[in-house]
């Protein structure tokens, strides 16, 4: 178990600047998820922590040691790869025990540890099989077994679930979370899947173009995104952005979308923005709900919407309507709307809505 501190980290490949100045503190035992679109530098960052890539600038500390010049084997980390990277010529037991053998541990102790890890992951029956005789999920378990058997200071996961089908992915996600709860070792997990990030992380680090766009607890990023990029990346269906103008009238602020003026509830800061500023109103599907009572709840704005498109998912329905000339998606109860073209009253929760500067795309 160890904390990780990364300061001023840069990684260049020839002319390509993959990671540009990352500062990151990961406390001991935390589950940190590095997330972002492909090419954002998240895997590169993970590989520099493992020691598989040399860094161009900056320092990486594990525990209280600067490990910049340590070989991967001396960093005491374990890594689970996207393609599992099992050794095809060794059976499961030898795969799991490989790291212990490489560190010259006596065979009886290797056997004991391998058995314990296999038991924990429910793969005891597979110990004599070769990797090619295993299913995707079983291979993934073996790969995790190979990591936990060494009892490393840090676990690194490089998109470990992306080769699995949807159902298995959900199942393994749960197992990884449970594993973290059981062994409470620092874990750093790379994914491009925002649901994985939201469900697994104690803290999400959202990266874009080699820098950290925002980091924090999952709900913090979800509810208070610092930019349209973060807001759009997390959440499915994604946040709808409606261009408008900020209206400041005395102490009251509002967002004007064409003819509609949506008042911003008191207490919601607009951080020194001036009257007439071009903004984007960010609405998540769950910020809208069907109006159920006569009185508009405080902090809400009532809008009569004509539903263009209806996408039922069973328990919920996603209804698309036009607001200020832009399509906006609302998440409603399955029976709130019955068909497209229906006109219904929606309550927009302005307390939770995000407002972004249209020019800088940053949150106000």
């Amino acid at each position: 178990m160890a904390k990780v501190r990364i300061s001023g980290l840069h990684k260049r490949y020839g002319g390509f600047h993959a990671v540009r100045g990352i500062d990151l503190d990961i406390p001991d035992g935390e589950f940190t998820v590095l997330v972002g679109p492909s090419g954002c530098g998240k895997s590169t960052l993970l590989r520099t922590i493992a020691g598989l890539e040399e860094i161009s600038e900056g320092t990486i500390e594990i525990g209280d040691e600067v490990v910049n010049d340590f070989r991967p084997r001396d960093r005491d980390v374990a890594m689970v790869f996207q393609d599992y990277a099992l050794y095809p010529h060794m059976n499961v037991a030898r795969n799991i025990g490989f790291g212990l053998k490489a560190r010259k541990m006596p065979q009886p102790e290797i056997d004991a540890r391998v058995n314990a890890a296999a038991q924990m992951l429910g793969i005891t029956k597979l110990l004599d099989r070769l990797p090619r005789q295993l299913s995707g999920g079983q291979r993934q378990r073996v790969a995790i077994g190979r990591a936990i058997v060494r009892n490393p200071r840090i676990f690194l996961f490089d998109e470990p679930l992306s080769n699995l089908d949807a159902q298995l992915r959900d199942e393994m996600r749960g197992e990884i979370k449970r594993l973290h709860q059981e062994i409470a070792t620092t874990m750093i997990y790379v994914t491009h899947d925002q649901i994985e990030a939201m469900t697994l992380a104690d803290r999400i680090v959202l990266m874009r173009d080699g820098v950290i766009e925002q980091q924090g607890a999952p709900l913090e990023l979800f509810e208070r995104p610092v930019s349209t990029f973060v807001a759009g990346f997390l959440g499915s269906p994604r946040m709808s952005f409606v261009p408008g103008t900020l209206v400041l009238d005395g102490g009251r602020a509002a967002v004007r979308l064409g003819d509609t003026v949506l008042p911003v509830p008191p207490g919601r800061e607009t951080r020194g923005a001036s009257d007439g500023k071009q903004v984007l109103l960010g609405l998540r599907p769950e910020h809208l709900s069907r109006a159920m009572q006569e009185a508009v709840p405080p902090g809400h704005f009532r809008y009569q919407a004509t539903i263009d498109l209806l996408q039922p998912t069973g328990s919920r329905s996603y209804a698309t309507f036009q607001l200020g000339g832009e399509p906006v998606v609302a998440e409603l109860h399955a029976h709130d709307v019955s068909r497209p073209g229906e006109r219904i009253d929606l309550d927009i929760n302005m307390t939770r809505a995000s407002i972004f500067d249209r020019e800088t795309q940053r949150a106000l």
């Binding site: 890594m79 095809p88 010529h89 490989f98 490489a102």
Partner: protein
């Protein structure tokens, strides 16, 4: 409808028949010369060119084998060939694997070195043999096993490297990286993970190298004389002032086939996998 059925039946049986005919013809084409060579090797000398041909001699004899092996020093040639070919093959496989790994994983020499290596094979041997001959004479490598082993290693290395290079490039890096994180040094990751995985490729490259060395004539002819001569050069002796020694030539040819066939059978499994160049992985 009823008319179609009887028409189809003979066609169905015609396809396998045609296949058997073609395969049979091909087999005959390949095996007949081999049979005739064997037949000649056990025929008394008078029967070689007899008309009508002697399909199998009434009194088969091993006398040609004896003559080829001892009178014409075929056994020495065989032993020399084995020493030179096996050594050159081992060296070629070892150096080729190391070099190919370096090219594939470290991008050694940039983009062009790997192709440059292969381009060495385009050079006709005649273009370099004279200087090599003179150098060998000068430094005492002429007519030595070592001299021929070096020449054959250099001569087979380009193809070995190229085959292995393609193999390593097709192999995912992540397994070696997993080994590095697991506690191996670079060298251990290479030996304990990369090499076992590349075994089919290494075997395929080695078989090719062995066959090239085993059948090589030109270098052996010019770089050896009475000591390190190899099996192929022995055949010169069978065409001489006494006329052609068909029986001895055939006998020695049969002997020279044995290692190739044995190797082919032993390496068959690896060879097929190796030639698909990393496409098939466990």
């Amino acid at each position: 409808m009823a008319a179609v059925r009887p028409a189809r039946r003979p066609r169905r049986s015609a396809v396998p028949l045609l296949r058997f005919l073609l395969l049979g013809f091909f087999l005959l084409f390949v095996l007949w010369p081999l049979y005739w060579m064997f037949n000649t090797s056990v025929k008394p000398s008078d029967d070689y060119l007899a008309m009508p041909p002697v399909w199998f001699p009434d009194a088969p004899t091993l006398v040609h084998y004896w003559a080829a092996m001892f009178t014409y020093r075929g056994l020495e040639g065989l032993i020399n060939s084995l020493i030179v070919s096996l050594s050159a093959t081992a060296l070629s496989a070892l150096l080729g694997t190391l070099m190919a790994y370096s090219l594939a994983r470290y991008n050694t020499g940039g983009q062009h070195l790997s192709f440059w290596v292969l381009s060495q094979r385009f050079l006709p041997p005649i273009g370099i043999i004279l200087p090599v001959f003179l150098i060998y004479r000068q430094i005492g490598l002429y007519d030595t096993h070592i001299g021929l082993i070096i020449a054959y290693t250099v001569f087979t290395l380009p193809v070995s490297v190229w085959m292995m290079f393609a193999y390593f490039r097709g192999m995912p890096r992540s397994m070696e990286e997993a080994a590095l994180v697991d506690g191996c040094t670079r060298w251990e990751a290479f030996w304990r993970v990369a090499v076992p995985l590349a075994a089919p490729g290494i075997v395929a490259a080695a078989v090719f190298a062995f066959i090239a060395c085993w059948t090589e004539f030109f270098f052996a002819l010019l770089l050896t004389s009475r000591t390190a001569f190899t099996l192929p050069t022995v055949f010169r002796a069978f065409v001489g002032f006494q006329g052609a020694q068909y029986g001895e030539a055939a006998a020695l040819a049969i002997v020279s086939l044995v290692p190739s066939i044995a190797l082919g059978i032993l390496a068959q499994k690896h060879l097929v996998r190796g030639l698909t160049l990393g496409a098939v992985r466990g």
